[in-house]
Symmetry: C2
Subunit: 194 residues, 2 copies
């Protein structure tokens, strides 16, 4: 199976000394899964919308099933010139286009954004997380909510604060991977055949 992961720096695994991120950790030991990690640092959902399909198409083959996982929202919530880089309504429009477009390719799953250190960004990301969860429910796309568990644990943000203010280290990424891989929706997502 080919697993394509689209999203921002947390998907790419920025700051992980093991270069796995939560995605690589969530499929540890599964040799039969070929991972294409297509996370890009600082990318917004608007930028992702412009490139995901071309990159997915180049990695699709007719002889092996594909799965697509998305995780974004933090970069949209950052301020630029006093306003979020992408407004909530626009993020939701982008998310709808991404998810429905990807569903035409393959089974799709969304993992919600993690918390970040900056309180303003974090509050906007939390609101976006709830809105993305509701959108996914309407589209019948499985959604794995990691925001509250990561924030409550404190490890994620403590590691981020000790590094660059945004990205955790190995333990934080492992915690996010554990939340994802223990979720029944993830198990259905990567266990199933075509």
């Amino acid at each position: 199976m080919r697993l394509i992961a689209f999203g921002e720096s947390f998907v790419q695994g920025a700051g992980d000394p093991d270069h796995l991120g939560w995605v690589g950790r969530a499929i540890s030991g599964r040799r039969e899964i070929s991972l294409y990690n297509l996370g890009i640092r600082r990318e917004t959902s608007t930028q992702l919308l412009a490139r995901w399909e071309g990159e997915a198409r180049l990695r699709r083959v007719d002889y092996e099933p594909m799965r697509i996982v998305f995780s974004f929202g933090c970069n949209d919530s950052h301020l630029e010139d006093g306003a979020p880089r992408v407004a909530v309504a626009e993020t939701l429009k982008n998310a709808r286009a991404l998810l429905t477009g990807a569903l035409a390719f393959a089974p799709v799953l969304m993992v919600g954004p993690p918390p970040v250190a900056d309180p303003g960004v974090c509050a906007r990301t939390e609101a976006l997380n709830a809105a993305l969860l509701a959108l996914c429910a309407r589209l019948q796309v499985p959604f794995i909510d990691v925001f509250q568990p990561l924030e409550a644990g404190g490890l994620w943000q403590a590691e981020a604060a000790a590094w660059d203010g945004a990205h955790p280290g190995a333990a934080g990424y492992q915690q996010m991977a554990d939340l994802v891989s223990a979720h029944p929706a993830w198990r259905r997502f990567i266990e199933g055949g075509e």
Copy 2:
């Protein structure tokens, strides 16, 4: 620093239960390196030539240096309808275009292709490895030759034979990563600043 890795399944890390491949293993512990692993299984140098620049451009930023590593050749050497998927002259033409094009973006390094189980493919890959080494010398692109060490060790091909005939497991990928990361050209490549 952003490290972009372009190539085929060995770059992508097919069969590695740890989902690192040799690239992830070669930068283990280096948190400051953001890895963009853009290997695609079965891809030839002709297909890579058509897509590398668009994908590199989307991952380039003006505030952080970039490095580009290439590794290809095995898929070109596979037979299709009785002839190699890409003829040697064409591979070299593609390689020249890839390397000179990428040098306009960032410092570039090439890692030669590893051996494969099929004797015919392996012999053609070995010849291609020598030709790519010579081309890189002419272009002054550092080239790390892993073919003979991996073949002589036997581990790479033993692991491949025990899996899918082409791809090793964790130990094989680690051996290739060790060859790469111990090479002075690799250390210069990832140590340097802009």
